[in-house]
Subunit: 156 residues, 2 copies
């Protein structure tokens, strides 16, 4: 299998393609603050969407979180993200792409009966050269939307 | 990286693990009936969930659909599934596991602004020896829940 060329609709998002590694920190009123290492890979299969695979580890190197989804260009300056998490959560996002700055907010969060209650998620992502930074705000377990995660990753 | 042992909570779902290949057919009042080939892989990473990757191709061998998600055991006889699709759709399912028979129905469907309207999805899956069969019913684009897909796959 040879890799097909990047779909023309993905040109504005091609800066994301590849594997990024780095570290971040998380916090929330209901938990203790923590640090993590992270790897994110954006891939493509020749169709007009990116695949998104994320994995984190705690400071002992144990797997922490993972999520998988798809990024879709949506017209001029529009961007969409859908993702699933093994914690029983799905996120459906709509947002804007301005150069290498992405702002996404959930239009829907899906929860299985045993999942922890998440109400909304906001994801802001910037790429500056070989550095990717993001911040994730979340409303969950009865708290209003606020800081949950931020990280800085480097292109591999 | 060595593969960790299967998490003890996954024992009732271990029959799904591996790669399955076969073919199916699809239909819906709003489209022409079609046939497809399919590959499904259930994997694990040592944690109490399965990964689920599905790919289909049309009869010319062109990629058709793909989806990715996680299967979670949920107490005695309970099962949950979350998945994302590059069409801008997320599905959040809850259901039951009876031996090697699985019945899942959506508790939530998430749609990005540019996604086609899907209201509900029902997935029934059976494994009999080396054969996996499933049927998918869907309510979409204003139609009530009805047959959309069925396929028969063989363990590779």
């Amino acid at each position: 299998m040879t890799t097909p060329p990047v779909h023309e609709h993905l040109a504005p998002l091609a800066f994301l393609l590849g594997t990024w590694r780095g570290g971040g920190r998380g916090d929330y009123p209901t938990i203790e603050g923590f640090q993590y290492t992270e790897e994110i890979t954006f891939g493509h299969v020749g169709k007009p969407f990116l695949t998104y695979l994320q994995k984190t580890w705690n400071t002992d190197g144990d797997p922490l979180h993972t999520e998988f989804g798809y990024v879709r260009p949506a017209g001029e300056g529009g961007i969409e993200l859908v993702l699933a998490q093994p914690t029983g959560v799905t996120e459906t996002h709509s947002g804007v792409l301005m150069g290498r700055h992405i702002e996404l907010a959930t239009v829907a969060v899906g929860l299985t009966p045993t999942a922890k209650e998440v109400t909304s998620v906001r994801r802001v992502l910037d790429v500056d050269g070989e550095v990717l930074r993001y911040r994730l705000d979340m409303a969950a377990v009865g708290r209003e939307e606020q800081f949950h995660l931020e990280a800085e990753l480097h292109k591999q």
